[in-house]
């Protein structure tokens, strides 16, 4: 049996490796996505004071530390049974919205965008952020850098540090916002809304106006019919900071809607001996292996999933684009809501709609007269026991679950991290791409790129690390004979 090894695809909680096995006819027998690293936060956090968790767990990921910081802070609210004041909730959501704008911007322009803006068949030497800038103009490149810079500044202003923020407290936030800061952030939020609209226009002009790209988006090779998860507000609109977790089936019907404290009733995690990362699935549907369809508990938690799980967007401009998204991709309206879009590459478009929503939400929050209220800390005297908190991380629903002794020292910690939700769907997408491109032992030229595109749309944390500025995905395929002898090596161009 031949095998193809792609190593490293690098970090999720560490690095990643793809192993593809071919059968006697040279077709794909199976494909494995292995995550060879574990750091063990769930165990080494035990014994630590619970209030330190926002500052410990943000070190799970330096790409999205804000998400861990926020999930941990919300878990502390629940643990101590304290309700944050209205200004605290708004400040946290404002901070979180700025984070979403920068995170989604980086993904679209530096990571996912090059596939579309330049096209999947373009010269790999050009298929990176610099190529994007060459094609769409230097001014746009500057705008991207500016967008990242101003939102990181907001994160530092409100959270204390540009990477690994520190401001989260049980029921509070360590720093109030000054009127001066409000003015600056207001200006930035307006720029973000413009930038969000501009990015969607760019997507229109470059991607949707090109029939070949639209065909690619709706092609079967990038399509899976799974369950979808996302957090919604009381109107079933997307919310990143708070709400109920809603799961819809492949047919779009609501399967369940629950508060994050009930997560363990609905989610279970499977262990495979060949990976350090676990595979979450919907408990009541059950684990049926790496397959899609209504009988498989595999679910997806991405921008596309959030759009599918919601009834719409909470802000007007994003709502317009939400409707256009479903109308364009042939979704029907059933009982007042659109049926899901299953095309994984549409996740890039969904991400831009979320970017616009985050920008609009940021503007609403910073204009709120209450936002500069200085009373952001409160004294907490309750005895902690157990608390669960969740947010929508850009890469999926993020849940932190803590138990403590009466002194607030952690005794148990469980974490279901954004990208982890999508581990099974990503593995399935890789397999499907490989199946489509490896026939009779012949490896199509487009294999590397197609496999990249198949998993890059999920924006797994490993893609942030492997494919950021000005990057080219470090992929190499070794084709080995049954005796383990190397027959052929193909590698991606060096960016």
């Amino acid at each position: 049996m031949e095998r193809i090894t792609i190593d490293p695809i690098t970090r999720l909680e560490g690095h990643g490796k793809i192993e593809i096995f071919l059968d006697d006819k040279g077709n794909v027998e199976n494909a494995y996505l292995q995550i060879p690293e574990l750091r063990g936060f769930e165990q080494f956090s035990v014994g630590r004071p619970a209030e330190e968790m926002p500052r410990i767990t943000n070190r799970i990921c330096g790409v999205c530390p804000e998400a861990h910081h926020m999930a941990a802070t919300k878990a502390l609210d629940a643990l101590f049974g304290v309700e944050p004041s209205s200004v605290v909730k708004k400040l946290r959501e404002l901070f979180y919205s700025a984070f979403y704008v920068t995170d989604h911007t980086v993904h679209f322009y530096a990571l996912g965008g090059p596939d579309f803006v330049l096209g999947p068949d373009s010269n790999p030497a050009e298929r990176n952020i610099l190529g994007v800038i060459h094609k769409v103009g230097v001014d746009i490149g500057k705008q991207v850098i500016e967008c990242r810079k101003r939102n990181h500044e907001v994160i530092k202003m409100l959270g204390g540090r540009g990477i690994h923020p520190v401001a989260g407290l049980p029921g509070g936030w360590s720093k109030a916002m000054s009127k001066e800061d409000q003015k600056i952030i207001h200006d930035y939020a307006k720029q973000n809304v413009e930038f969000g609209l501009f990015s969607l226009k760019l997507f229109d002009d470059v991607v949707l106006a090109n029939q070949a790209y639209v065909d690619l988006i709706v092609s079967d090779i990038f399509t899976h019919h799974t369950y979808y998860m996302g957090t919604v507000d009381e109107d079933n609109h997307i919310n990143f900071y708070d709400g109920l977790i809603r799961v819809v089936g492949p047919d779009g019907k609501e399967r369940v809607k629950y508060p994050s404290k009930d997560y363990a009733k609905h989610i279970a995690e499977r262990v495979e001996p060949w990976s350090y990362l676990k595979f979450p699935y919907l408990k009541d549907v059950g684990w049926k292996g790496f397959v899609d369809g209504p009988d498989s508990g595999v679910y997806c938690a991405t921008p596309l999933s959030r759009l599918n799980a919601a009834d719409g967007m909470a802000t007007p401009k994003a709502q317009e684009h939400y409707e256009r998204f479903y109308e364009t991709l042939g979704s029907k309206k059933e009982n007042g809501r659109y049926t899901p879009v299953h095309h994984r590459l549409a996740t890039h478009w969904a991400r831009l709609i979320e970017l616009l929503y985050a920008a609009e939400r940021m503007l609403e929050l910073v204009e709120d007269p209450e936002i500069t209220d200085p009373n952001v800390r409160q004294i907490v005297t309750s005895t902690p026991t157990e608390g669960i908190g969740s947010v929508e991380a850009p890469r999926g629903t993020l849940t932190h679950h803590y138990k403590t002794d009466e002194n607030g020292i952690l005794t148990d910690v469980n974490l279901i991290v954004g990208t982890t939700n999508n581990y099974a769907p990503i593995a399935m997408s890789i397999k499907k791409a490989a199946e489509g491109l490896i026939k009779g032992g012949k490896v199509s030229e487009g294999l590397l790129n197609t496999i990249e595109m198949a998993f890059r749309n999920y924006d797994p944390c490993m893609s942030c690390a492997t494919h950021s500025l000005p990057g080219q995905m470090p992929l190499e395929i070794q084709i080995k004979g049954a005796d383990g002898k190397l027959l052929e090596t193909r590698s991606q161009y060096i960016g």
Binding site: F21, T381, G471
Partner: protein, 339 residues
């Protein structure tokens, strides 16, 4: 190196979060200068070089290697050895590589307990057969392998020789840029490099010296958790009874955490000339306790100090939050060796 050949730069991660890579991007437009000055020789984050490319380089081919992340498993260690061999100057970049950082809190527990918690004993697990990840798994189609997970997290200099240490979790962008300028000056203009083994890209005094909060030499009776009081916005946090590691921590960050009302947790590592940050913090903490007057005998004094120190939860995990691997403590013994 030929006259026109650019110096070679590498950056690699061990057990890390990716924040160190992001910190490099956060030098903003200066990243373009880095791109002009250096040729990238190995940098999985941004460029497609493979381990076999690295293996093919002559020894010492890479002029500057920034290694971030701790040594958590066999793969991290193998890569550290390979990069040491191929690099003229190897920098332990960021707290993980320098001193173990957050991942090294794992040295307060064991590999067995970690596996038990992650794969067996948690509320969302479905693992009736008690499956653990295996270094070798026979699947239907063939064999799959994983690296060996160590019992003890190590700093980079515990597995290879390190030339310089660049502290911070992550390092602050202006400090990173300053270091890169020094290295570029040395490589291109022959300016001297700092002495081997130096801590670079950081201050030489404590975080307190960069902090705007006012110190009044006030003594305290007990310590508070951050949610137990509403701290005065202008006074020293430690003197208000909130644990702040600034007094035992090397400066260079600009006292970011205390400036937003949160105590320093020590991510820039021990002070110049101090090996053990936790030990230093313990004596610093003892010195701010109001132990009573001179008439007390030694036992009584010790008792009062101990009572106040007992109000600090988890001193080991707090005082060694970032420096566990590199500390005198290094790990809690479990009698099972340390790899």
């Amino acid at each position: 190196m030929g006259a026109k050949e650019k110096p070679k730069l590498a950056m690699y991660w061990g057990a890390a979060c990716g924040g160190c890579e992001i910190s490099v991007l956060n030098i903003q437009e200066n990243i373009l200068t880095v791109d002009e000055v250096f040729d990238i020789a190995f940098f999985p984050c941004i460029a497609d070089f493979k381990v076999k490319d690295l293996e093919s380089y002559p020894d010492g081919y890479i002029d500057l290697c920034l290694f971030n992340g701790a040594i958590r498993n066999s793969e991290n260690e193998e890569m550290a050895h390979l990069l040491r061999k191929k690099s003229k100057v190897l920098v332990a970049y960021g707290s993980c590589a320098y001193e173990g950082c957050i991942p090294a809190l794992s040295n307060l527990t064991t590999k067995e307990a970690t596996f038990e918690k992650v794969y067996i004993n948690n509320p969302s697990i479905d693992n009736p057969d008690k499956t653990f990840p295996q270094e070798i798994t026979e699947v239907e189609e063939g064999e799959l392998t994983l690296p060996h997970f160590y019992n003890t997290v190590k700093s980079l200099d515990q597995v290879v020789d390190v030339d310089y240490y660049l502290p911070g979790c992550p390092p602050e962008p202006p400090q990173i840029w300053a270091v890169l300028q020094v290295v570029v000056g040395a490589l291109l203009e022959g300016q001297p490099l700092p002495p081997a083994g130096a801590v670079i890209g950081a201050g030489t005094t404590a975080v307190c010296d960069e902090c705007d909060r006012e110190k009044k030499e006030k003594l305290i009776d007990r310590f508070y958790r951050p949610y137990e009081i509403l701290p005065d916005p202008d006074q020293c946090l430690l003197e208000q009874g909130l644990i702040c590691m600034g007094i035992a921590t090397r400066g260079g960050c600009g006292a970011l955490c205390p400036s937003v009302g949160m105590g320093c947790r020590g991510c820039y590592g021990p002070l110049e000339g101090v090996d053990d940050q936790g030990g230093k913090m313990l004596s610093a903490v003892a010195s701010v306790i109001n132990a009573g007057d001179e008439t007390m005998d030694e036992d009584e004094l010790e008792h009062v100090i101990q009572e106040a120190i007992d109000t600090i939860p988890d001193p080991a995990g707090t005082f060694y939050r970032f420096s566990m691997a590199h500390s005198i403590l290094r790990r809690v013994k479990n009698g099972k060796g340390d790899s």
